[in-house]
Symmetry: C2
Subunit: 221 residues, 2 copies
């Protein structure tokens, strides 16, 4: 079956490195769903203002669809293999992602939905948008499997002056993203410097003893 | 983008008529997810036994993908138009459905997952299977929009002898399906007879004053 994007996603994160590993983890991170082609009109969205959340069905465009039957979830330390259908890994058959995100506002004229809490990278193609329906989508008592394991969050320390560059809500989103520990699961080298691209700035940081220290935030050259 | 089925769905409902309009509405209705091709092995499902629910991303194969920007949700009496992205209508851009279903059992050897509560018809192609993760998927406080409107359930009256044909759990599922009122929203003719195909039997019924009476349940000829 052939599917075509109905919208495209824009946000401050352009690379895989630093992307929240699930929707809802960086609740303050905003992004924009812009309808495309035939769908780019107010009619397609009529009535969506009644809902607070939507589902995005989208493509992991930074990963190629994978033929691997097993993956190694970061939540399991990257050591244990599970079936691809027992994981939300981006390395999967048809490269389809699925995320519940909060609606911030809808611009019917521009056919745009501002959302927050998404785990999509900038430029991701969106193949469908559906309203979140609590009576069929929300199952609080569902067994979380290995996702019940605690994800130890980092304490984030920003350098002085960063609040002159980022507005408070952007800084909050950046703090959330960094607190999720973007490092590869197998690395724990306190000397190592990492760089994360956020809002066209190169955020350099180190991690030691559960504390992530931001070293610099220069403009992307 | 081209996507290929990873599995196929089998169940007792073969036609659109009578399909629950959302996952979870007919909680006793069972079905089977059978992995296909490269994915048909125990490895693909390894670890899924830790979870209680899965998402199916699947194709509305009984409807063709639609270019219409608006639809008329049955929940709104079929009179009010809403945007396709403000509805879960099967008439949608890429013909993709999304359903959270309960795992009944997993046969790793056969690469099959028995589930219940699905709203897929027999033969539906499945493009992805993901574990349900409550911390990111379950949003009980999400605003339900127009889906908060009460769906008036019918009282179902079965004829004598039907329990000799259907096992108790199948009869329960049939009762749930019928109680959801499968009639088109614009019809309320107490004289009219309807036929619903369930488990290869033609279930004939009438509806009057909120009571659905099953008239016969003959084998499909």
């Amino acid at each position: 079956m052939t599917i075509e994007p109905v919208a495209v996603y824009s946000t401050l994160l352009h690379e895989k490195f630093g992307l929240p590993r699930q929707a809802g983890l960086a609740g303050s991170l905003e992004g924009l769903v812009s309808l495309r082609g035939n769908w780019a009109c107010a009619d397609s969205l009529r009535g969506l203002e009644e809902f607070s959340h939507i589902w995005l069905i989208w493509g992991f465009h930074l990963n190629r669809p994978s033929g691997n039957r097993t993956v190694r979830p970061p939540r399991l330390g990257g050591n244990r293999r599970t079936g691809v259908f027992a994981s939300r890994s981006p390395f999967r058959p048809n490269g389809l992602g699925m995320s519940a995100v909060e609606i911030v506002s809808i611009d019917f004229e521009k056919a745009e939905i501002k959302v927050k809490g998404a785990d999509l990278a900038d430029g991701s193609p969106i193949f469908d948008i559906k309203p979140y329906i609590p009576y069929s989508d929300s199952i609080p008592a569902a067994s979380p499997g290995y996702t019940a394991l605690e994800w130890k969050k980092l304490r984030v320390v920003f350098p002085e002056g960063i609040d002159r560059v980022f507005a408070p809500e952007r800084l909050e989103a950046l703090g959330q993203i960094l607190s999720l520990d973007p490092r590869p699961h197998y690395q724990d080298d306190p000397q190592r410097e990492y760089g994360l691209l956020f809002a066209d700035r190169n955020i350099r940081f180190k991690v030691r003893d559960g504390v992530l220290e931001v070293l610099s935030f220069e403009e992307r050259s």
